[in-house]
């Protein structure tokens, strides 16, 4: 491969501006030099990237394909350069991550190890928090990211990490405890136990919606003592 990142940057600028003149002003670079670099790129690829017209340029199919590859490539290159630059000047960044105790036991240890291996220039600190405090921490800037469970709130961006099966916890000897699998509808008449409703209203709303959809409209209730007895270390999946 003989093209370089500079040519790709020029190409992306022209593609986004739809005009050599405007792209040259944005970079900034002399328009003739920009044009020569685009031509050089086209020669190397053996195809035209733009259709030139009196009102500017339009991407060809080859140009469209290159644009979809070039933008993430440049973004990645910029991040890599910035990361190395920080290492070079001894600058250390920090990231603070909050997590729910119920997700921390299996996600946090491998994540911390992998992050330390790949980003020694960033100091990662973690803190286990109840959901409401985790969201508050993200909103007020005390936390940079959280590992948690939806549903959350509209002002948070989220990406799914994994999806896991859900089960029901029953007292030993319960009439349903020998079943290999259950539906929510099977639990229609069972008293349901979960964390206090104010702990995170969106979870409770989803919990009630799921049971209502399964034909069990009774609102779930909080019974902290009973919850502690059968679930000492976790909290409901979507309650």
């Amino acid at each position: 491969v003989s093209f370089d990142l500079r040519q790709l940057r020029y190409f992306v600028a022209v593609a986004e501006e739809g005009s050599l003149t405007q792209a040259a002003a944005r970079i900034p670079v002399a328009q003739q030099s920009l044009s020569e670099q685009i031509r050089a790129l086209e020669r190397q690829l053996g195809a035209e990237l733009f259709v030139r017209g009196p009102r500017g340029v339009q991407l060809t199919d080859v140009g469209t394909a290159l644009l979809s590859e070039a933008k993430p490539l440049l973004s990645r290159a910029d991040r890599a350069f910035e990361r190395v630059r920080r290492v070079a000047v001894g600058e250390r960044q920090a990231i603070r991550v909050g997590f729910l105790p119920s997700v921390g036991n299996y996600i946090v240890p491998p994540l911390v190890r992998a992050f330390a291996d790949t980003h020694p220039e960033i100091v990662l600190t973690t803190e286990d928090l109840p959901i409401a405090q985790l969201v508050e921490g993200l909103r007020d800037g005390r936390l940079d990211a959280g590992l948690t469970r939806p549903p959350l709130v509209d002002d948070l961006a989220t990406e799914r990490i994994l999806r896991e099966p859900v089960g029901v916890v029953l007292p030993a000897g319960h009439r349903l405890s020998a079943a290999p699998q259950l539906d929510l509808a099977d639990l229609a008449d069972e008293p349901r136990v979960l964390t206090p409703r104010p702990s995170w209203e969106p979870w409770h709303r989803k919990y009630d919606q799921d049971f209502a959809a399964a034909g069990s409209p009774r609102t779930s209730f909080s019974a902290a003592a009973a919850f502690k007895a059968c679930s000492r270390s976790s909290r409901p999946a979507s309650a």
């Binding site: 991040r79 994540l111 960033i122």
Partner: protein, 61 residues
């Protein structure tokens, strides 16, 4: 009764039984405020997805 993700099963072994629920699932997400570029958060997200692709995180619990 209460409803818990499968990963919580390993946290208790006395006095209760864990029965899978059909077609029910719980997601785990990474969340952040998307108000400005956050290189460290982007790096974290990259690592999270790399780790999630490379290993069975549920079995680590």
């Amino acid at each position: 009764v209460t409803r818990l993700p499968l990963s919580a099963r390993s946290l208790r072994d006395t006095g209760v039984t864990f029965v899978p629920l059909r077609d029910d699932h719980a997601d785990v997400v990474v969340a952040w405020i998307d108000d400005r570029p956050r290189p460290a958060v982007e790096a974290l997200r990259d690592v999270i997805h790399t780790v999630a692709r490379a290993s069975d995180l549920l079995s680590a619990g």
